[in-house]
């Protein structure tokens, strides 16, 4: 990820690594997946990275966010960051300016408000995202109905932003978790570090001031949100895979059997070398996608899908190999590697499985692509 901001990114990475060092399941004996202190994230400026300075943020872009996301992946961080920051802040930023929006951005940056965004995720097909909710107008009354599954970080959010179709046009609707007719069903997944839920709206009445249009093309806005989600997951997988490689290299150097470090055996050496090759490729794919997304390139979905498909699947292999090379201790709770493998497995299927992304990429060559 070479850019003019290289030094800034290095500094951000260095600070994040230092602050997060003791939060990895590898160092906390894997017993609890305690969420990171939200106020600490706020005071570090990490909640408002992309929020404009006028609303109390840092006015940075996705490239900076990507640095943090990779660091969060390294420590398998338990924090509602994906829902509230990666998607929430971005969703609001993509809307036409209004006071309600600006006020919310300010609160998000300060850490006094948390939101979740309900995008289509439970049928992990990719393409132009179809809004999982729809608006019904009966006279002056506005109602929203629909269902989205596996929505990140809904539980504990002060507000949920629903991607809804208003007469076929994608819009965002803000609803309170307690709104009558809104149901939130937690969906337990193998990954203990994150929380997903199904959001079901059955004729939830909405305030006309909570229905917002995207700036510019609503389809492009909705697609951009989806791409951010996919790439955020790829950054996470890159970070966790890198951590798995480092932990493995350290272990196989220390662990002796037959009077020599197990890392001196070719079967182990080759596996570590393969991890490094895999991570190098992933890192290039993520870098290219981050650049395309942050500079708003048309067709950015192509590098994003490539990164999501490849990185999320390689990370599962690397985490699996890491556990294998740790032998019995690899799957103990105390060692914490299992948290990484499960997180990698969830990343693989969240926001489009590798199959779905590859199919979409392949369709370009058949002349029926999405771009």
């Amino acid at each position: 990820m070479d850019s003019d901001f290289g030094a800034v990114h290095d500094e951000l990475r260095g600070v994040a690594r230092m602050m997060l060092a003791n939060h990895s399941p590898l160092t906390t004996a894997g017993r609890s997946f305690k969420p990171l202190d939200w106020q600490l994230l706020a005071s570090s400026g990490w909640l408002g990275l992309e929020v404009p300075a006028a609303q109390g943020g840092a006015g940075a872009g996705f490239a900076e966010l990507a640095v943090l996301l990779t660091e969060f992946g390294r420590v398998a961080a338990a924090a509602p960051y994906l829902g509230s920051v990666v998607l929430g802040t971005a969703a609001l930023s993509l809307l036409e300016a209004n006071t309600g929006r600006d006020h919310r951005l300010q609160e998000l940056a300060a850490g006094t408000r948390r939101v979740a965004v309900a995008l289509p995720t439970d049928r992990p097909e990719v393409g132009q995202p179809t809004a999982p909710f729809r608006i019904r107008r009966a006279g002056s009354v506005l109602e929203v109905s629909g269902r989205a599954g596996f929505v990140p970080d809904v539980v504990g959010a002060d507000e949920i932003l629903l991607l809804a179709a208003d007469d076929h046009r994608p819009v965002l609707v803000a609803v309170a978790p307690s709104a009558p007719g809104l149901q939130i069903d937690a969906q337990p997944v193998v990954d203990e570090t994150r929380h997903l839920a199904a959001v079901i709206a059955d004729g939830v009445e909405i305030d006309p001031d909570s229905l917002w249009s995207f700036t510019g093309s609503p389809e492009a806005g909705a697609a951009r949100l989806a791409e951010r989600a996919m790439l955020a997951v790829a950054c996470d997988s890159l970070g966790l895979a890198t951590m798995m490689m480092e932990a493995t290299v350290a272990y196989v150097t220390d662990r002796y059997q037959f009077g020599r470090p197990i890392g001196s055996y070719q079967a182990v050496k080759h596996a570590c070398a393969d991890m490094l090759v895999g991570i190098s490729i992933c890192s290039e794919l993520v870098g290219t996608a981050v650049e395309a997304l942050s500079s708003d390139e048309p067709g950015s979905w192509v590098p994003v899908s490539m990164a999501k498909a490849h990185v999320s699947s390689v990370a599962v292999e690397i985490a699996g190999k890491a556990i294998q090379l740790h032998g019995g201790v690899g799957y103990t709770w105390e060692r914490g590697l299992h948290a990484y493998l499960k997180r990698a497995a969830l990343n693989r299927s969240l926001f489009g499985s590798p199959i779905a992304h590859r199919r979409r990429l392949a369709a370009r060559y058949a002349g029926e692509g999405n771009s």
């Binding site: 439970d122 049928r123 992990p124 599954g149 193998v190 002796y256 059997q257 037959f258 197990i262 055996y265 079967a267 182990v268 599962v316 699996g320 556990i323 294998q324 032998g327 019995g328 690899g330 799957y331 103990t332 709770w333 105390e334 299992h338 493998l341 499960k342 497995a345 693989r348 299927s349 499985s353 199959i355 779905a356 199919r359």
Partner: protein, 382 residues
């Protein structure tokens, strides 16, 4: 490709499936959960099998079996593992502890241990691995020192499955220091109720109550508890490990879950991406290949011709199948809702299979060691 094993085996298989259908709850995923009722169910199911002569049919009649063919025993292994092992920990006693005692035990040891195993009343654990003796098992340090007319055992074992519930431990300990580390090892049949034993559970991702550390602090055992000759433990253990490595019919659970997928997904099955259907079909075939390798080992074993490489080849195939099929099944459930009823049961079974499969290429000999073993056998033969 279907495997005809003869009418007796097919009748036995039907009987076992019938028992599972009637006595094992449909959401059962193994005995070692946080719900004690699961273990109780498994204990009861063992007694039920024993009453019908189905716990160890291949054992000789004098030890509670009915001299059935090794194929009937294979059918028992398959049906039980396919249905998340409703015998709980008993498969160890039936598959290898019992047969090893038949082969190497004294009349007294046989009389003491075989009937309770055959009746499904006893749980055994295996005290082999130590923190610094995993792949390099022969370097183990747990010592049994001569003390009067018996022995005092001190040391530590690790990764001991079911140690919290076991009544007996099949323990490998060092009784003397010899030139080669494989020498001077002895097997003890040690009662877990003896003074000086401390069992500490190890929490793992494969499920609660599976693995433990076991500490021995001057535990007293007598000469009557020594299996085989003092100092001859390594040879017996090699035999045990080859039994153990074919002991679990992992392919049977893989195959059952794979075959269940279309029914569990219902209409959603047809909506799966075509390449996922392809990967699924490949896994079904992989499962049947692994089954053939298992049958080959059973056949060789029944003729006393099994070599270490044969068991290793089967194990490499079946443990990889375990992990690869788990991955394909996880991909399949990622595409489907499976929120209730049979669909939800399927989702839970697949997630359990995935978690458990992680240990397949490490437990009872890592896949790396299996490959070395196989390559060694291959090169020695050339």
């Amino acid at each position: 490709m279907d495997f005809e094993m003869g009418v007796e085996v097919e009748a036995l298989r039907r009987e076992l499936r019938d028992l599972v259908a009637h006595h094992v709850p449909s959401d059962y995923l193994g005995a070692f959960t946080d719900d004690p009722a699961d273990l109780e169910m498994a204990q009861g199911f063992c007694r039920l099998l024993a009453d019908r002569g189905l716990l160890c049919p291949a054992w000789p009649g004098e030890w509670g079996g009915r001299d059935a063919s090794p194929w009937e025993q294979a059918a028992v292994r398959e049906e039980m593992w396919a249905h998340h092992e409703p015998r709980g920990a008993q498969y160890m006693g039936v598959n290898w502890v019992g047969p090893t005692i038949m082969r190497h035990g004294t009349r007294e040891q046989q009389g003491l241990h075989l009937p309770p195993i055959a009746r499904g009343e006893v749980i055994w654990c295996q005290g082999f691995s130590e923190p610094n003796a995993g792949s390099d098992l022969a370097s183990l340090q747990t010592m049994a020192r001569r003390d009067g007319d018996g022995w005092r055992v001190s040391g530590q074992k690790i990764w001991t499955s079911y140690a919290t519930m076991a009544q007996w431990c099949f323990l490998l300990a060092r009784t003397s220091r010899e030139e080669r580390k494989q020498q001077g090892l002895t097997i003890f049949l040690l009662p877990m109720a003896a003074a000086g034993i401390d069992v500490r559970p190890i929490a793992t991702m494969i499920g609660p109550h599976h693995l433990n550390e076991v500490f021995f602090d001057g535990v007293w055992v007598t000469d009557a508890d020594v299996l085989g000759a003092v100092g001859d433990g390594w040879r017996v253990v090699q035999e045990v490990l080859s039994f153990e490595r074919v002991g679990i019919a992992r392919y049977a659970r893989c195959e059952r879950l794979l075959i269940w997928a279309p029914a569990a997904l219902g209409a959603e099955w047809d909506d799966l991406p075509e390449d996922l259907h392809g990967r699924w079909a490949r896994m079904v075939m992989h499962a049947r290949r692994a089954r053939l390798l298992a049958y080959r080992v059973v056949d060789l074993q029944s003729r006393g011709q099994v070599r270490p490489g044969d068991a290793a080849a089967y194990r490499i195939a079946v443990t990889r199948l375990d992990q690869e099929s788990a991955q394909v099944l996880m991909d399949i459930i990622g595409f489907a809702a499976l929120g209730e009823g049979e669909g939800l049961r399927f989702r839970r079974a697949v997630e359990d299979h995935w978690r458990y499969s992680i240990s397949a290429t490490v437990a009872s000999g890592s896949i790396e060691m299996q490959r070395i073993l196989l390559a060694r056998a291959l090169m020695a033969a050339s």
